[in-house]
Amino acid sequence: MISEKFKKTILNELNLYDFDIQDDTTADQVPGWDSLNHINVILAVEKAFDVHFKGIEVLKCKNIGELQKLVNTKLDQK
């Protein structure tokens, strides 16, 4: 389940007023989330939740729901 904080972090980074993000939404469906801006979105999420991803962990995420799960796992490990 996508949390409000997670969604807001992504939308803020991409300068989006609103966009519906669900578990199965993929990065390429989100306006502005292209290859050039991908790294900034990931860094923004890391900063907002004070977590740190390994590149390969992000690469394995098939959709935004999986990225949210990765954040949750990292928070649980704290």
């Binding site: 989006l16 007023y17 306006p31 502005g32 050039l36 790294i39 860094l43 590149g55 390969i56 690469l59």
Partner: protein, 574 residues
Amino acid sequence: MIKTMSKKRELEWDRWVENAEKFPDKEAIIHWVAGEEPFRWTFSSILKAAESFAVGLKKNGVERGDVCAIIIRHNKYFYPIYLGISSIGAIPSVLAYPNPRLHPEKFTQGLEGMSNRSGLDWILTEKVIAEVIEPIILKEKSTIRGMFFPLEWGKNLKFEGKDLENIEQIRANIKDIDPVLLQHSSGTTGLQKPVLLSHKAVLDHVTNYGNAIKLNSEDRIISWLPLYHDMGLIAAFHLPLTFGIPVVQIDTFEWVMIPSLLLEAISKEKGTLTWLPNFAYNILAGKVHDDELEGISLDSMRMFINCSEPVRDKSHKMFYKRFKEYGVKPESLSACYAMAETTFAVTQTPTDKEAKVLYVQKQSIAKGVIELNGDDENSRTCVSSGKAIDGCEVRIVDEKGNDLPENYVGEITISSVSLFDGYRNYPEKTNAVLKDGWYYSGDYGFCLDGEYYIIGRKKDIIIVAGNNVYPEDVEDLVSHVEGVIPGRVVAFGEDDEDLGSEQISVIAETKILDETTQKKLKLEIIKAGMTEDINIKKVYLVPSRWLIKSSAGKPSRKANRERLVVKNETITWS
């Protein structure tokens, strides 16, 4: 040092065979995949695989001179497929695999446009996108005769003596002036300009460029560049294959997700050369975590070559500051000026010196005569792209085509032994840029002490991370968005200091006054860009009649950009 080009008829294929005989077990291409052991092609194994694919292509009807578009993702068989096409005298043309953002209809429209222009005969692709491509082939006037899935051929391919004889016979009749590849100048898919290059042009070019960078047998190239781009295809594919030098090929998509992959590959494979667009220096310097650098050593690197978008001194400085403790040397930070029309490189900075930096008085640039200054707010920092490489001549000319002396700003024109003959099936575009054997690049620059500095563009092309985007294409897209006044849109590149590149901004006139509806309109404009894989970073909405027109009667990109970006003008809605 590499050997000088011989005068005898020589094909790219001859060089690949020679390398397979000389260094059968030497690594040729190291296919890198994140989190996996890399796959290692040797010079003999890749050739053997290429011959098998050549047999498969022949059996499917591919003939000498046919253009074979390759639309395949990062795959270890990509390379022998490419070589296999070339080995039977057909012409490989690498096209970008469709990004999921790109609407399938837009992809097919683009491919159809490209097919009609470039005269594609065959599509070699993956089964997963067959359904999208098939309708184009079935169209009555389509140039495309068929589609294959060579990745599926696998073990079914057997290489037999008779097939070899046939292929050798074909090869014996190929001339060095025959085409070896078709590459596309960058731009929106479908509108890209096809550049056909001969064996001779490519061999001469890699020889001359190899000399400029003092290519030697100890070199190892590391690259994440896409092979549909001239920098990836020529510098990181044809160059090493021709000279028997290993190259590590990283997936572009994976590099974007994990930029540290490049550093890991350099460290593990003892890389010596890499080509990077400017934004990559910013990403590597600013966006990689320290823990991803544990155990990384970059001291094997001879040259990081900055190319394909304006070179920024700040990016070099950031990169050096971050990685000097990992072994990066200042003299390894070099630059190159290149384009598909000249095969690849035109100029290159020296191998043993950092790219020269000048501080030029801003006002003097506007006047067209360079005056040097100190490093202060009145200066613009210009990074040298080096001297012309062997086989290339560069002139700086005024608007009438007259030569300008050193220090004068003008258009960069190039003559080269590896210059293209013209865009394939595009005489009007060819006539606009090719005059008396000189290519008019559309780039502005100046020469000082024999070194060339690129400072701007004649046309308003936006360069986003090394890719050219034409503002007209963006404006056309946005004009069709409901709520935008048709034709009342300008698109331009806005500097992104953080990324070390430009991003696309749009100013669009609308009659919508309500703030919430305006926000929705902005989103719709960004979404319209997405359908063509164009990322619009910023949208400025302005009221009707806000945009200033140029003397040609169209909204002026420069003047309107200046109002919002430079002067920060407030938009008043009444």
